[in-house]
């Protein structure tokens, strides 16, 4: 009689008259027990038919474990893992100056293929400089669109107060922010814009200095 190398399944010979129970039923039990990952607890880990690569799942610790040929090692946790960087872009080129009730951009944008059920953090920043007039209200805006292009009429995701203060060094004020977004699956483009509200004044501002846009898969 021979057996397989890993699960030690019974291999009858060509001429052997087999016993159904030992040749089939008991082997099926072994296959069933070892299928994919054996269900066990931390105190009832498999001790027979061990082989490097065998998987088991401990119901008490909720850990998937793998036998490395010597010991059992943890493989998992029951957590949805962040996947990290999706994209990053930056510039030091100033945007065009914008007056009240106007929006400049897209200043920076990133396009990627969003996955179903994922959550993305959008990080952005830049300096808002006074071009004409003095203290001026403004805001950075994050917009999104399906496909490869985003414009200042695309869906608004986030608005972040980013006023220009002429008392600031160099007449510009630094603003950094972040927001979240959970888009539908498929190609999507996120863009950074600078806007001024409808104030009725003659002030103009621009996005200047170091500006960046980054997207990270966080859940």
């Amino acid at each position: 009689m021979t057996t397989t190398t890993r699960l030690a399944l019974y291999e009858p010979t060509d001429t052997e008259v087999v016993n159904v129970v030992t040749a089939i039923d008991e082997q099926l039990d072994i296959i069933d027990d070892a299928a994919v990952a054996t269900e066990c607890t931390s105190s009832t880990r498999p001790i027979t038919n061990l082989y490097a690569g065998r998987l088991a799942y401990e119901t008490d610790t909720r850990l998937l474990i793998r036998y490395n040929g010597t010991v059992w090692q943890n493989m998992t946790g029951s957590f949805k893992r962040p996947r990290g960087k999706i994209g990053f872009t930056s510039t030091t080129t100033s945007s065009s100056a914008i007056a009240e009730n106007a929006e400049s951009g897209v200043l920076l944008s990133l396009t990627w293929t969003a996955l179903a059920g994922r959550k993305y953090a959008v990080y952005f920043g830049g300096s808002v400089a006074v071009v004409a007039g003095n203290d001026a209200s403004a805001a950075y805006k994050i917009r999104k669109a399906n496909g490869a292009t985003v414009t200042n009429t695309s869906t608004l995701v986030f608005t972040f107060g980013a006023d220009a203060d002429d008392n600031s060094t160099g007449l510009s004020t630094r603003h950094d922010g972040f927001c979240e977004h959970s888009p539908n699956a498929g190609e999507i483009t996120i863009g950074l814009f600078l806007a001024r509200p409808a104030t009725g004044d003659a002030k103009t501002v621009q996005s200047a200095s170091y500006q960046y846009l980054a997207i990270e898969d966080v859940e």
């Binding site: 099926l28 998992t76 059920g117 994922r118 203290d135 986030f158 203060d165 922010g177």
Partner: protein
């Protein structure tokens, strides 16, 4: 009479079964074994309907490798790795205050030995008078609430000018290295105006509604 294995439902013939049925039975068993070998490709909408504990799948639409932990499709990973967010949200919450007041807060179950990163950003504007120093603070406490007397994690001053015209923004983060008993804690984001002038946090700027973000994430051990 045949019986069945508990997980894959493989049919085990009895010694009295006719051998002419054996081929059909074996073929059906092989299909069941084949179906679960490795990481069968499914989508998040076509996961196996009657999984067994330890069963693995690969979702083509989400690119997730998952396994059935007995109650849900869990994720693979390393225990030390960063985990899913506790909170990551943005909204138009606003506050006008002089004394230290909670702006946003979040309760969750903290795990002993894990580190929690707290990110925040907002817009701050003077409501009355000309200049003021606003202080952003992050505090935490065991249980479901956090107060101005709770443990201080972070504090920083923001100078704000020009009432009702130009505000300042704040964006920063800090960390809580949690070494207590695993259980509910609350993290709060507070503002205080130390010059006792009325200051607005996350208000509108010239009619433009601005937002704030507050995020808490497990970022490792």
């Amino acid at each position: 009479m045949s019986t069945f294995t508990s997980r894959l439902q493989l049919e085990k013939p009895s010694p009295s079964d006719l051998m002419s049925d054996g081929g059909t039975t074996l073929a059906a068993n092989y299909i069941k074994i084949d179906d679960v070998a490795g990481f069968p490709l499914v989508t998040s909408a076509t996961r196996p309907g009657t999984p067994f504990t330890g069963q693995t799948i690969r979702e083509s639409d989400t690119q997730n490798n998952r396994f059935w932990d007995g109650s849900k499709w869990a994720y693979f990973g390393n225990e030390s790795n960063q985990r899913e967010d506790v909170l990551l949200n943005t909204d138009s919450t606003s506050l006008t205050a002089t004394a230290e007041t909670v702006f946003r807060s979040q309760s969750f179950t903290a795990t002993n030995g894990r580190r929690y990163r707290i990110d925040f950003c907002s817009y701050i504007e003077i409501v009355a008078n000309v200049t003021a120093r606003a202080v952003a603070k992050i505090r935490w406490a065991n249980g479901a609430s956090v107060t101005t007397a709770s443990t201080l994690l972070y504090s920083d001053v923001i100078q704000v000018n020009s009432a009702g015209v130009t505000g300042r923004s704040i964006r920063d983060f800090t960390e809580l290295n949690y070494t207590g008993v695993t259980g509910q804690i609350t993290i709060g984001w507070f503002f205080e105006n130390i010059d006792a002038q009325s200051t607005g946090y996350g208000l509108t700027t010239d009619g433009m509604d601005v937002e704030s973000s507050f995020a808490i994430r497990d970022w490792g051990d």
